[in-house]
């Protein structure tokens, strides 16, 4: 039956993560963006929330809570409300852990999952995007060719977070010459594997606190067993849907941050003897922002709920992400506009949110929930 109420567990997670966002992320995010660094103390503190091991089955050292996309969306929204770069960093290992839980073979799970249930944070990452203007899943150019007992990977990936330190990178590559989305599979490539070259750090418009890299594969040979799910492989579309929903939820978080800041500013800032919020030109912008924050969240939750129910979700997850990407740009841009010239100055956060917000149209497969 229709319900818009969080469960008790979800409310607890929401409150914990929101507190963390306000107390641990908000005080440092500007410094992280300017310096291009995330302090290790922050990462350890974030790991103490145990967000990822929480969903790992007990047999592999986790807590064993079943994974829920709706809960994931609630959590991702609040983290991104704190800061998007820091949130991606925190959730990075999930891009390996969750696909393993969903599709991994017993050997793969035993090899990798315990690593991500330890006391300290272990970086891991996924390499999905490619540096081309026409990049999408069906046209994946990175190839994995079966040769005897191994796969040989060739191609170029970009926007791979924490690639330099990642213990393992889940690399998405085309395995079929006939090349469509169904031929794309994922491969667990360990740190230091010959033929995997981690490039210099990327310079991006936003996400500046986060270390992202191009990763180049030149005849990178991995054993057959490193294909996610072994011979059965994995359903990449399904993995991508989780990522769409995660990104959409994070877009809601960034939107909410920008909306709230602009709203509060408009009530403080006086012009012509009145707060600017008392003018419809400003008030209506804020009203539209408020509607779209809620609208995007509901679309995201619905897609997440479909994933949890095992319903067909390709269309819903994609549309939620597209809608979220469009609205986060509108909302962060309006936030800059409400602040006027002040919005352009780096003393206020809105310019940072606009830079991060712009990325959502691009970031496929960057995070998962």
């Amino acid at each position: 039956m229709l319900s818009f109420e969080l469960s008790d567990d979800q409310r607890m997670i929401y409150e914990t993560v929101r507190k963390f966002a306000l107390n641990e992320m908000r005080p440092i995010y500007r410094e992280c963006d300017e310096g291009g660094k995330i302090p290790p103390e922050f990462i350890s503190k974030a790991w103490e929330l145990f967000l990822i091991p929480n969903n790992v089955p007990e047999a592999y050292g986790g807590v064993g809570e079943p994974r829920s996309a709706v809960t994931g969306a609630i959590l991702a929204e609040e983290l991104a409300y704190g800061d998007f770069s820091l949130a991606v960093c925190m959730l990075c290992p999930a891009s390996v852990v969750y696909p393993l839980i969903e599709f991994g073979t017993e050997d793969q799970k035993q090899k990798y999952l315990p690593l991500f249930c330890e006391e300290s944070f272990k970086p891991a990452s996924a390499a999905f995007m490619e540096p081309r203007i026409d990049f999408d899943l069906p046209s994946m150019q990175t190839k994995a060719a079966a040769e005897g007992g191994s796969y040989v990977i060739n191609g170029e990936k970009c926007l791979v977070p924490l690639a330099a330190d990642a213990e393992v990178i889940l690399v998405y590559a085309q395995t079929d010459a006939s090349a469509d989305a169904k031929g794309v599979q994922a491969f667990l490539v360990d740190k230091g594997t010959a033929g995997m070259e981690i490039s210099e750090r990327e310079k991006n418009m936003g996400l500046k606190a986060l270390d992202t890299r191009k990763v180049i594969f030149k005849d990178c040979r991995v054993p057959k067993e490193s294909r996610l799910g072994g011979e059965a492989g994995c359903n990449v579309s399904k993995l991508l849907n989780y990522s769409f929903v995660g990104l959409a939820a994070m877009a809601v978080g960034v939107s909410k941050a920008a909306f709230e800041y602009a709203r509060d500013y408009a009530k403080e800032r006086v012009a012509f003897g009145e707060p600017i919020a008392s003018r419809q030109a400003i008030a209506f912008m804020l009203a539209e922002m408020a509607i779209e924050v809620d609208a995007t969240r509901l679309l995201t939750w619905e897609a997440a709920w479909r994933l949890d129910k095992g319903l067909e979700s390709d269309r819903e997850a994609y549309l939620a992400k597209q809608y979220a990407a469009e609205k986060v740009l509108m909302i962060t841009d309006r936030a800059v506009q409400v602040l006027g010239g002040h919005g352009y100055i780096r003393e206020h956060p809105v310019e940072l949110w606009l830079r991060n917000g712009r990325g959502f149209a691009t970031f496929d497969g960057l995070v998962t929930i």
Partner: protein, 412 residues
């Protein structure tokens, strides 16, 4: 627990109404658009037989004292209504608005005394089709209802009404074509401002009440929209809805009560918009399928066609409006205050329906513009949802005041 699945009860009802919409409404939709001011009698009579039966149950429930001790099932009336209205509007919005009953009935049901219910609602359980209209708007008072100039004055055992009301939905049906009534907003004391505004029930055929004009409209042409003039129109004292006491000048509690009905009706207008929008999207997608045009999801913007982008935007906007509407209804069913959420749903649905139906006309080329299909009609019909029960802008104003925690003096 977050859940987007409507109950089986609602799903069954939705299916039933959908069949009715497809078989009884769609075939008549064009005729009553072209022949404005003709009454779709077959449809009205059919709906009346069904609503009489429902009204009987509702009437009995609303007049009988509540039984105690029975555990109540979680209420889902509003969500149910929203889904029924979406289906009916998918069939045809003009015909849906012709269905006997109306906002006046809802008002008596909500705030009427048991005597008033007996006098005005029993008739909806028997006999010929009847309407109960609501007359609020005046030539110079639309969304600004506080500016109402129609007056009510006490004269012995009667109220005497004077003034002119415009844009009364089903007004002619209520006062001329059936044994219905109209609920009229009028002021008892102009100097008291909003607190002086009360609503009065005027029986059909009351001397001094005349329908003077039937509007010709852009859309929803099957539904009558009229002007009603009140000239020394005398009604019994107990035809006032609620208390006759005028609060002191700065009190608006009575007025707030009147305005609260919008929190219930706005999500329903949004649901109607969504029904029309869905009709347009369904049609466009079916036509594309026939033509072999595929809508692909999850591909690069580089490869996406303009048509694909448009259809995806239409779908996402419509679904966003639907979920906001369901949320507002769900809150109403739980008796949570939904003033902000109702306006959000209405404002978003108004924008979405305008985008969706206008795009649908564009995407179908000359077919979209032709009166041989219904697309151009849906665009004309749909626009009403961004206007009545509060324009998009009035709803934005309400949302803005709520999120800023501003009074009407702080944000005009």
């Amino acid at each position: 627990m977050i859940d987007f699945e409507i109950s089986e009860n609602i799903a069954n009802m939705k299916n039933m109404v959908h069949m009715l919409a497809e078989n009884m409404m769609r075939p008549a939709a064009r005729k009553y658009d072209e022949e404005e001011h003709q009454k779709p009698l077959d449809f009205i009579n059919m709906m009346w037989e069904d609503s009489k039966r429902r009204n009987r149950a509702r009437f009995e429930a609303s007049t009988k004292p509540k039984q105690e001790g029975k555990p109540e099932k979680p209420a889902e009336n509003s969500v149910m209504f929203a889904n029924v209205i979406e289906e009916l509007s998918w069939g045809d919005c003009g015909l849906y608005l012709c269905i006997p009953g109306g906002l006046g009935v809802a008002a008596v049901e909500a705030v009427g005394t048991s005597d008033q219910k007996e006098r005005f609602l029993r008739r909806f359980t028997e006999g010929e089709p009847k309407w109960g209209a609501m007359a609020i708007t005046e030539a110079n008072a639309g969304s600004d209802t506080a500016a109402i100039t129609a007056t009510a004055a006490r004269d012995g055992d009667h109220w005497v009404l004077n003034g002119e009301k415009i844009f009364v939905t089903s007004g002619k049906a209520a006062v001329q074509d059936s044994e219905g009534f109209v609920v009229v907003w009028a002021t008892l004391d102009r100097s008291a401002g909003r607190a002086g505004i009360k609503s009065f029930i005027v029986e059909h055929g009351t001397p001094g009440m005349t329908v003077t004009k039937l509007e010709k409209k852009l859309g929803i042409r099957a539904s009558d929209t009229c002007t009603i003039v009140f000239e020394d129109c005398r009604i019994p004292l107990d035809n006032i809805l609620g208390s006759s006491e005028v609060q002191k000048k700065d009190s608006t509690s009575g007025f707030k009560g009147v305005m609260a009905t919008f929190d219930a009706t706005r999500p329903m207008v949004a649901a109607s918009a969504i029904g029309i929008g869905r009709a347009a999207i369904d049609f466009v997608k079916e036509e594309f399928e026939k033509q072999g045009v595929q809508i692909r999801y999850g591909i690069s913007p580089y490869r996406m066609t303009a048509v694909e982008r448009d259809v995806q935007q239409m779908e996402a906007n419509l679904q966003a409006a639907r979920l906001l509407t369901w949320r507002a209804c769900w809150m109403m069913d739980r008796r949570m205050r939904n003033n902000l959420e109702a306006s959000m749903a209405k404002a978003k649905a108004g924008l979405a329906i305008t985008l969706v139906t206008q795009k649908a006309v564009e995407l179908m080329g000359p077919l979209g513009y032709s009166r041989e299909l219904l697309l151009e009609k849906w665009m004309r019909d749909g626009k009403i949802n961004d206007l009545f029960e509060g324009t998009g802008q009035i709803n934005m104003l309400i949302i803005a005041r709520r999120i800023l925690e501003y009074t009407r003096e702080q944000l005009k």
